[in-house]
């Protein structure tokens, strides 16, 4: 009886997560596009729902909600479904939509998408070879084989993102790093931008005028038949077109300059808005959080192995919530930046794949942060993977990512004030 009640609770929560994913897709990601292929929206929402359910199960595990047999059952079920989605469904549809976009292969897209999927599976399998992730007693088709590979990809991704986030978060929110931008700086840049546009316009007018004159002269030339007409047309046109190509080169250079000025102005506007935001109450709150998290991140970079069991449980909760939120925001920004109406389906599916792998590996890594008594269920469910490998791998990639982000941001910060000193 209790198993039935527990299952009802689980299914309800899964439906809720599915609805949330659906809404997020419609309202945020696909705000400006029409959804023509509903299968994309369904796949995205399913991936999101099952990923969130995994986190929910961890929390239930720690809080002791539901009976342990039903928890174990749902863990297994959830894991099978999500592996099915991440390894079979999503890659197949990615291949399918990529192939549909290519006109040549459109006719036999099913065939070609199967080919793509088999290629993916080959490389996915090969991924396991260089890593010591399995103990030899596992068979070829066991579930551990699949999880271990998904885990490697996901852990690498997580470590890269966390390393960058650990460095970028304090940099963005702490007012210490904000460059001083005044209104007159922005106005001066805007004036330069408009002047450049005016120069482009006047040069293009000259090109248009010259072309028109050449065209009209060309018509009159055609009326002159015979030998002299031919000689005249040879001698008169080259100077016109040489002049044109020279002006065209100047226009290309000016257009490149206008793009640079536009991007710089956007950058300055964004900095100015951040400065204004930092003066508000919300801004000050985030500034304080920024200091707090920067200390936490520094601690994490240098003292990765030292975890106090119970503080880490609260942190696990915070990490879950902020990483889901942070991931969704990052995915949305990324999506806006690179999608177009043709590629939007493919990009959403790629994002769903990344999201699924990210969540699976979070579960793998979270095992370390959980208090000892709760680790057993994760170990039981996921089988005997070499967990230590994953933690070491995460630490290495995290360190590399954090250090290179520090270097990158330092260079970017250093270069910026010099750009604006020329104003």
């Amino acid at each position: 009886m209790s198993f039935f009640v527990d299952s009802v609770i689980m299914v309800t929560s899964q439906v809720l997560f599915f609805g949330f994913g659906w809404l997020f897709f419609m309202r945020q990601l696909f705000k400006d596009y029409e959804v023509r292929q509903y299968v994309v929206q369904v796949v995205f929402s399913i991936t999101f729902a099952f990923s969130c359910t995994m986190f929910e199960l961890i929390i239930f595990e720690i809080l002791g909600v539901l009976s342990s047999t039903s928890r174990y059952f749902h863990w297994k079920l959830n894991l099978y479904v999500i592996l099915l989605v991440l390894i079979f469904v999503v890659p197949f549809y990615i291949g399918y939509f990529v192939v549909s976009n290519i006109r040549l292969l459109h006719r036999q897209r099913l065939l070609f998408s199967c080919v793509v999927w088999f290629t993916f599976m080959y490389f996915f399998w090969k991924l396991g070879d260089p890593f010591p992730i399995l103990s030899p007693k596992h068979g070829i088709l066991s579930i551990e084989q699949l999880i271990s590979r998904v885990g490697v990809i996901g852990v690498t991704l997580m470590a890269l993102l966390s390393g960058f986030g650990a460095v970028n978060c304090p940099y963005t929110y702490m007012s210490y790093f904000l460059r001083n931008v005044t209104d007159s700086d922005i106005l001066a840049l805007e004036r330069r931008l408009l002047q450049t546009m005016d120069m482009i316009v006047s040069k293009k007018k000259r090109i248009a005028m010259t072309r028109r004159q050449m065209y009209q002269r060309g018509e009159e030339q055609n009326k002159q038949t015979g030998f002299w007409g031919m000689i005249k047309s040879v001698t008169s046109s080259p100077s016109g077109s040489e002049n044109l190509s020279l002006i065209q080169q100047e226009v290309d250079a000016l257009e490149e300059l206008s793009r640079q000025l536009f991007l710089e102005t956007v950058d300055l506007q964004a900095t100015k808005e951040r400065i204004e935001y930092s003066k508000t109450f919300q801004g000050k709150y985030f500034n304080f959080l920024g200091y707090f998290f920067s200390i936490y991140c520094v601690w994490k970079i240098f003292m990765v192995k030292f975890w106090s069991q119970h503080i880490s449980f609260i942190l696990v909760g915070i990490i879950i919530v902020t990483s889901i939120r942070g991931l969704l925001i990052t995915l949305t920004k990324f999506f806006y930046a690179i999608s177009s109406s043709k590629s939007s389906n493919v990009i959403v599916l790629v994002l769903a794949q990344i999201m699924g792998m990210y969540f699976v590996s979070s579960v793998l890594l979270m095992r370390m942060s959980m208090p000892l008594e709760y680790r057993t269920i994760v170990t039981e469910v996921l089988g005997e993977l070499q967990f230590n490998f994953y933690h070491r791998w995460f630490d290495v990639i995290f360190l590399v990512s954090a250090l290179s982000s520090i270097l990158f941001l330092y260079l970017a910060h250093k270069q910026a004030p010099e750009k604006h000193m020329s104003l």
């Binding site: 793009r259 536009f262 806006y336 109406s341």
Partner: protein, 225 residues
């Protein structure tokens, strides 16, 4: 050339609808081979014969300013592109006929451009709600262009044309539906070419005749060139 001589027309619409292809077609009479993302604003110049075929025919140069981006862009991007909306003489609104949302987004686009207009006859926007009266009072000529017409299957064409007819009524503007990769739609003498010509004539007239008509004779058309 003083700033009085310029005729400026904005080309607005969501990213990916085909504004750059359209501008290239209008100005170079050629199809754009490799469209890529427009960063900021790209300008091109169209040679237009004002009142073609009449004794008052004059050659004018119209600047087409193709502003890139989307209505959902960050506010820093919006404040930066507001710089391009000054002293505008006409607006071409471009939407993708295969994507309904791009048509709906034309309302916020037009509001964004018109509320930054510094001319005294610009409309005053209070809260973003728009109704036909605001567009009826608007003095800046608008033109509605729908792209990717060739990608609509035959049986859906009527629905699409009905929808765009409503849109053009709302904006109090003429509408043209075409495919930017096919110059046939704007061939000389076709109804589309006539509408386009009429639109540009209207823009030039508004530009030069909003002042007292007695001053008309004083400002000759030589300033066009």
């Amino acid at each position: 050339m003083a700033s009085l001589d310029r005729v400026k027309v904005l080309v607005l619409g969501d990213s990916g609808v085909g504004k750059s292809s359209l501008v290239h077609l209008l100005c170079q009479n050629q199809v754009l081979g490799n469209p890529s993302w427009t960063v900021g604003c790209s300008v091109d110049v169209r040679v237009h014969d004002y009142r073609e075929g009449t004794p008052e025919e004059k050659t004018c140069y119209i600047e087409l300013w193709d502003v890139g981006g989307s209505v959902g862009s960050a506010s820093s991007v919006k404040s930066t592109r507001a710089v391009f909306y000054n002293s505008v003489n006409g607006i071409i609104l471009v939407h993708d006929l295969t994507n309904k949302k791009s048509s709906q987004n034309l309302y916020p686009w037009s509001l964004e451009a018109l509320s930054k207009d510094s001319s005294p006859t610009g409309i005053i926007v209070s809260n973003g709600d728009y109704d036909r009266e605001q567009f009826a009072e608007n003095s800046v000529p608008l033109l509605l262009i729908g792209t990717k017409f060739d990608q609509i299957p035959e049986n859906k064409r009527n629905d699409v044309l009905t929808r765009t007819a409503f849109l053009s009524e709302d904006f109090n503007a003429e509408e043209i539906n075409l495919d930017c990769t096919n110059p046939r739609y704007l061939a000389a003498g076709s109804s589309n070419a006539v509408k386009l010509s009429r639109f540009f004539d209207k823009v030039i007239e508004k530009r030069y005749f909003t002042r007292d008509p007695s001053q008309v004779r004083a400002c000759t058309f030589s300033v066009c060139m």
